[in-house]
Symmetry: C2
Subunit: 281 residues, 2 copies
């Protein structure tokens, strides 16, 4: 997905929101805003938004003096979801359609996205998402692809959310590679977060090589690109992966809640819509 | 009111929103965003937001090549409200408390604010505002001040909204000076807009000398500052005037809907609150 004009004010807002995780100092935050403001002229509309997200987060990391400034908050998210994991598992196994329920829960988990907001209520989100109509639901081709698939590539999104992804991977019951980011960026899932969520029990965990809050193929490792090209079924979770991969040719199933109005418009749904969308040929 | 950190992303957003009134050309809009982005570093937290609003609008005016790029949309707003003016007048005269009803209607009219959004429904806004609880309502000191006042200074805000202001001025029934901006800025009321709204029938219309979307005393004319200092009762309409005048010492009655979350927090109310607030000593 390209950068839309409406993304630019949002970049400044994202910088401020991220900056506030690591400092309350107004002078430092103002400097961060100034730097991102001056940077806008160098971000062409042809970039994908996660490329900019990466640069903004690098500045936040500099301010914080920490490699993974959100480590603690990510860990808390993961523990919170692990606590309710038995109930979530029970919801899936007792459901008339376990796959669909696990997909819905995986989308509910997508609300744990500090790139958008840190104000969420996971219990309420689960209730809402389980009862909500999909605006796009390519479940039938998904079921067929899943039945045929010998291996799955599942591109993760945020820490905490990954516990929900684990449940969907368990439910699908196929050999799966779970993809994490190479370096800490926002609250995106990295290797340690995935292990903390128990993903290592249900999948092989690999890094895409991406240091952006999304998957931009050109910046990923050759190994990842091979996995991506060869996988029987690719699932890409969340907005950042959509932004990076929406124009790729191979079939990808995007699983997300369209929280950002610009992304929602790009997909062709309303803001807040839940989506299981098959892209590519 | 000072500039808060959250105002900076909003400045970029305001530039984009204003720019879209005058062009659909993405390259020009991107350039506007770039210029405002580079400008952020030069806007200290000590500025009032309307000072920045003025600079942004000057850039929009340059792009449009027009002195008053919103002339047409302002005129349409005014005509729309003039059409329902007889019903509004009827609401006031048949009310058990005409002054209070006219105040509520004047606040309802404050929704016609293209600095915030051009997406409003004036009929619905009137319904909501007439039935809504004030979060701050200094009506008793206001009534006393009005009874004693020999003259009123009423600082206008937006075109269209001014028709509602006219109704309140008629209802108060005291000699009034209605203040407009010196130059076109956003959809703020200037002399011609005030005449189109019929303000000349109920008040003397003067310019404050302000070319910002608000009243910043240091940039106003000496004549205005004298009127401001000498008036028995000062009413300041809308957010822009609050931003510019909130720290002034003399008593001012602010009449507004707190549409912006930052201003709402500064006043100490919830976003969307309606307010009749007495400031000063």
């Amino acid at each position: 997905m390209k950068t839309y004009l409406d993304c630019y004010p949002c970049f400044v807002n994202q910088a401020l929101r991220c900056g506030r995780w690591v400092t309350k100092d107004e002078t430092i935050l103002k400097q961060l805003i100034d730097e991102v403001g001056m940077m806008l002229k160098d971000i062409p509309l042809t970039n994908t938004p996660p490329e900019t997200g990466e640069i903004i987060f690098k500045k936040v990391r500099e301010i914080s003096g920490k490699n993974d400034p959100l480590a603690e908050v990510k860990n808390r998210s993961t523990q919170e979801v692990l606590e309710i994991y038995p109930q979530l598992k029970q919801m899936v196994t007792s459901s008339a359609d376990p796959l669909m329920t696990a997909i819905r829960l995986a989308i509910a988990g997508n609300v744990i996205d500090f790139g958008i907001s840190d104000d969420y209520d996971i219990g309420r989100e689960i209730q809402e998402t389980v009862g909500k109509e999909f605006e796009i639901c390519d479940i039938e081709p998904f079921r067929s692809a899943l039945t045929r698939a010998q291996n799955i590539l599942y591109i993760g999104d945020n820490a905490g959310e990954s516990v929900f992804d684990r449940l969907l991977i368990e439910t699908m019951g196929k050999p799966t590679v779970f993809i994490v980011r190479e370096e800490p960026v926002l609250n995106d899932v990295i290797f340690d977060d995935a292990v903390a969520a128990g993903l290592d029990k249900v999948a092989n965990i690999y890094s895409s090589g991406s240091t952006a809050p999304g998957t931009i193929l050109e910046t990923c490792t050759r190994e990842f690109r091979e996995l991506f090209g060869d996988a029987d079924l690719v699932i890409a979770k969340g907005q950042g992966n959509y932004e990076g991969l929406s124009t790729e040719k191979r079939p990808i199933y995007f699983l997300l809640k369209a929280k950002c109005p610009v992304i929602a418009r790009d997909i062709g749904v309303n803001t807040g819509a839940i989506v299981l969308k098959r892209n590519g040929n």
